[in-house]
């Protein structure tokens, strides 16, 4: 299963490297949405610091939703997804490989630009470090839960909007704990409790979501 997983990851990374526009769009969306907030609520540093962690977290969830419908869609359209499901390797391995590739292509670049956006929101260095760490724990959750949503809505008309309705309520704990960790640092209560809970939520998502996604893929492809 390990080798299968790696080959799925390598394949998806190769595809992503050849179509840079796809994942750069999600990243650009993240930067753009975050930059719109100071324009709409005003540039007072105190206010921006107060809303910064939440805004960046919401922008990250929305950006992940933007990129998620493509997770299985392209392979579904050219038929390779069906072939992969027919292969003797477990479907969960396919899902995990896809999720890992999605995180490498979407989550990792997002982590890299987050410090810059944190500066835009007047966050102190310590809070930025916690923010990046919370996103390091949190973006895999977004990819995992989103994979289940993408598998459920595979090939549907308007699947892109539908996945938002299905997955956003499930993102709530990640959002609360992730943004809460940064808020905890800013208000002086500490981030550890939030980060531990975020880690726990990651583990739960990691154990449940791939199976749901695998079962959904089988259902969606009949």
């Amino acid at each position: 299963m390990g080798r299968f997983l790696l080959s799925v990851v390598r394949r998806d990374l190769t595809l992503a490297a050849r179509r840079r526009g796809d994942w750069l769009t999600a990243l650009f969306f993240f930067v753009l949405v975050s930059s719109l907030f100071p324009l709409s609520v005003g540039p007072e540093p105190q206010l921006l610091q107060r809303i910064g962690p939440g805004v960046l977290w919401v922008a990250a969830t929305l950006a992940s939703l933007l990129s998620l419908p493509r997770l299985f869609e392209d392979d579904h359209r050219d038929g390779s997804l069906e072939q992969m499901l027919l292969s003797p390797s477990p479907v969960v391995g396919l899902v995990l490989g896809k999720v890992l590739a999605h995180w490498l292509v979407f989550g990792l670049p997002l982590l890299l630009v987050t410090p810059l956006l944190g500066l835009q929101f007047n966050l102190p260095a310590e809070a930025i470090a916690v923010l990046v760490f919370s996103l390091l724990l949190g973006t895999p959750i977004l990819s995992l839960l989103g994979a289940a949503g993408a598998a459920l809505t595979l090939g549907l008309r308007g699947g892109g909007v539908l996945i938002t309705l299905l997955v956003l309520p499930l993102y709530v704990p990640a959002l609360i704990f992730g943004a809460g960790a940064v808020g905890g640092i800013l208000s002086g209560t500490g981030a550890e409790a939030h980060l531990s809970l975020l880690g726990a939520f990651f583990l739960v998502s990691f154990t449940v979501a791939p199976w749901i996604a695998a079962a959904s893929l089988k259902v969606s492809l009949g």
Partner: protein
């Protein structure tokens, strides 16, 4: 008694048809009794005055709204595990009622919140988690309506509900924790300190009414879904010919 006997759409259709009127009458009578107890017999609350009386609608609706989601997940699991068509039918029939009652709980909560807390909406843990539950219902309904193939939409909805039911406790917990950490109990849910027996009886009667209503509506809806799905079979053709 053979339970599988009732899993056949034909038997179920007849059985449910017999039960629906009884349950509907029970729901109506219980609701009348409960409302009478609630609005005429129950004493005025010394803290909340008359406004607390919305509890007789609010609490049963909220309980039922939460409970129906779990029942949906149960039928979804049965459907997936045993490939039982009727289980999926039940799941589908439950969802609109669950969404409706959750909405009623939110609505009455807002109406109750206005005189008590001075605001229609507070980001209180219970309000927030109920709102998210409502979103989960809407997501399931949207998924069903987007998939035309019955088999696929049944299974996809079941998987989504199962996934949701795993998440609901986590969401509840996270929201409770989020609120208590940030907002403190300046407003909080003003629980009735001690409930008079009459009030309790009223709430329980209304809860029984909500149960009867839910089962009646679900069975009636399930019958329609069965008719739609089995429309090619002989027995449904016969029923449709009679009704026409």
């Amino acid at each position: 008694m053979n339970l599988y006997h009732y899993a056949s759409p034909t038997t179920f259709y007849r059985l449910a048809g017999g039960l629906v009127p009884w349950l509907a009458w029970a729901a109506g009578l219980l609701a009348l009794a409960g409302l009478y107890i609630g609005f005429f017999m129950a004493p005025t609350d010394f803290q909340q005055g008359e406004a607390y009386r919305i509890i007789f609608i609010h609490v049963p609706a909220a309980w039922m709204g939460m409970f129906i989601y779990v029942v949906m997940a149960f039928w979804g699991a049965i459907g997936l595990a045993f490939n039982a068509r009727l289980a999926f039918v039940m799941m589908r029939a439950l969802a609109p009622t669950g969404a409706l009652l959750t909405f009623v709980a939110l609505w009455t909560g807002a109406v109750w919140g206005k005189p008590m807390w001075g605001t229609w909406w507070v980001w209180d843990a219970r309000l927030t988690s109920t709102l998210i539950l409502f979103f989960l219902y809407l997501g399931t309904l949207a998924l069903w309506s987007a998939i035309e193939d019955t088999r696929r939409s049944d299974r996809a909805g079941a998987l989504l509900t199962l996934f949701g039911v795993v998440n609901v406790p986590i969401i509840l917990f996270s929201v409770v924790w989020w609120n208590t950490l940030h907002q403190g109990s300046s407003i909080g849910v003003t629980h009735a300190p001690r409930m008079a027996t009459v009030m309790m009886v009223g709430v329980l009667t209304m809860t029984a009414a909500a149960w009867a209503y839910t089962i009646a509506v679900t069975l009636a809806r399930a019958r329609r879904i069965i008719l739609e799905r089995e429309r090619k079979t002989e027995w449904v053709q016969r029923i449709l010919a009679q009704e026409a």
